[in-house]
């Protein structure tokens, strides 16, 4: 328990440290919290609806307009919060597993920034690209950034130091951010909605957006679960993993593809919502140990819960007008990052 957060040492990530009873508890509590958050999120909106009206609306009873509001505006938003939270949390788990690095997360390694740059370019320079085409572009940006940073930080050539990866990620993120900001500056009249998106949020989610992202979430999540055992073995170190017959390079490649699929799609649809991929995996590991078979699905659940709560929080900033939900996770997550950095006791 002492240092489950810093997976830098082998003993930390032994697959034996799975705590199934804790897992069950976390699953139950997480589900409960998710339901609370989801219902709370469903109940807030410009149109005052009572709890019974919300429930009725979900099942199609009551005033036609109330039903419509609950079903076609609030429900997709809540579901999107859950899906994006799940995507980002799972991609964080995989990334930390692949790199044996506690600071690996899509936003720190530059994956989010890569996807964001491509999407901003699509919106300002080319104007009319949306839906799946935008997601595919997001994959391109996320993929290039992910392979770039991970490759360059030395993943696959022995363990990378968390410091080096964090520094590499921060620097690449800074570069991508400079490009993004320059695009915004040079296309000022096309940026009206972009900035909102750039902070990240699910405020304007529609069913059509969910349809765009769900297949990629399904593929990514399934891939993550299939990789869980391999990630457990990888946690023993590359040499041991090779010794027991794991194709280490293929595992890494598939893992990064999963990350790109999950995080790239999430960013393309909802913007670079910050820090979920960092906060949730750590919290989950602290609660249930390091067995990826347990960590991956539970992190997904807790990620969904966190972003849904964040969306609830964002509603209170300037109700009834919209504040991007990413603001809440950014303000929550940054101190958590600081806490993680402080815990780091290695002398790389």
């Amino acid at each position: 328990m002492a240092s489950s957060g810093s997976a830098a040492t082998t003993s930390d990530v032994l697959p034996a440290r799975a705590r199934y009873p804790a897992g069950v508890l976390v699953a139950l509590a997480g589900t409960g919290l998710l339901l609370v958050a989801a219902f709370w999120d469903l109940a807030i909106g410009a149109r005052p609806l009572s709890a019974s009206q919300v429930v009725g609306g979900l099942f199609g009873h009551g005033n036609v307009l109330d039903v419509e509001i609950v079903r076609s505006i609030r429900l997709p938003r809540v579901l999107m919060a859950a899906v994006i939270g799940l995507d980002l949390a799972m991609s964080g788990v995989i990334m930390q597993g692949l790199t044996a690095n506690p600071l690996a997360a899509p936003d720190i390694v530059g994956v989010s920034a890569g996807a964001a740059l491509v999407v901003v370019a699509a919106a300002t320079v080319f104007a009319q690209i949306h839906g799946t085409a935008l997601v595919l572009l997001g994959f391109a940006g996320a993929g290039i950034a992910a392979f770039g940073v991970l490759g360059l930080a030395g993943v696959g050539q022995g363990r990378t130091s968390p410091v080096r990866m964090a520094l590499a990620g921060v620097t690449v993120t800074a570069m991508l951010l400079a490009f993004t900001q320059a695009l915004l500056l040079l296309h000022q009249n096309g940026t009206a909605g972009i900035f909102f998106w750039l902070v990240g949020g699910v405020n304007f989610a529609q069913w059509s957006d969910l349809l765009v992202i769900l297949p990629w979430t399904a593929i990514g999540a399934a891939g993550a679960m299939l990789l869980a055992v391999a990630l457990n073995i990888l946690a023993l170190g590359d040499d041991v993993a090779r010794g027991v017959g794991l194709n280490v390079d293929r595992t890494r490649l598939l893992g990064v593809l999963c990350v790109v699929c999950l995080a790239g799609a999430a960013v393309a649809v909802s913007g670079p919502v910050a820090f979920i991929g960092l906060i949730v995996p750590h919290t989950t590991r602290r609660l249930v140990g390091n067995n990826h078979l347990l960590v991956i699905p539970l992190a997904g659940l807790l990620g969904a819960t966190l972003l849904t709560f964040a969306d609830v929080g964002a509603r209170f900033v300037q109700f009834p007008f919209e504040t991007p939900s990413g603001i809440v996770t950014a303000l929550l997550g940054a101190p958590f990052f600081l806490y993680l950095a402080r815990r780091h006791r290695a002398s790389a």
Partner: protein, 339 residues
Amino acid sequence: MSSLQRVCVPRLAAAAASVLLAAACGGIGQTVSPSSAPGAAPAYSTNPNVSQCGKADRIITDANNFVTTIRGVPQRIVTVELSFADDVSLLSVSPVGIGDDNDPNLVIPQIRSRIGPYTSLGTRESPNFAVIAGLKPDLIIADQIGNRKIIDQLRTVAPTLTLQSQHTTYSQNIDTALTIGVALNQCVRMQKVLADHDATMATIKAKVPAGEHRSFVFALSSDKTFTVFNSQQYTGTVLEQLGLKAVATDPSLFPAGDASGVTLETLVQLDPDLIFYANVLDTPTGLFDTWQRTQLFEASKAAKTHGAHREGQKPWSLTRGITGSEVIAAQAVHDLYGK
């Protein structure tokens, strides 16, 4: 290097210079007939600059309360914002340089037709100083907020007025036009322009049936967001001239900017009679276009009365200015009553 020094020295210098000049020049150089006396425009007398009308050296207080002396009749004028180009060109002066975001199409045709060849200054946000200086202007008109970081530089080249454009209302814009008239030493002409403008607006308004008081919002729709402008924003205040009522009349609900994100639910809850919207970059479709096909929107007042009107981003959201307001008003009347 203190702020005190930086702000006060030019002001003192300007005041001193104007006193000296006034003493030196006396009444020579009066280019405008006595009929342009300040009293000629009681309607606009709240603008303190009007007292400078007709003087050869006019001491003008701008939106930043900075005092600038403008001598004679400026001929080479640089306007960093489109609304200033609009107002200046109404006095038959064609700006030599315009901040048009390096895109001549940003200047709407109604204004473009009055303007000769001009040099683009680059973005309105960061107009190119070397280009401005190279134009040898004798007057620069810049935005109070957007251009504040370059104002000290601009003042080294030519008298510079910082006036309101990016964050302004219809009536403030009239006031700004008046100041521009004083700056160009064309008070009479500007009052004529404003009288013509009042007549134009009256003609447009005459097409509005009596008792028109429907509520409206003006919004920008992009692929990803829908932002509603508050009632203090320029376009809204123009539409209020027609008797329409801006729905979001509580600016305290808005953050410090002009606009705020609004979901379909909130929009339907605000339930304006009319929705004027522009798609960002005038793309064929935006978020609101997809909303219009929903059952929820169809139940709203705007949908039932066919009150949603798509407008161009340039005239409705980027131009402002006297002509800009006429274009908005005329287009609104055309959309609402087919006239």
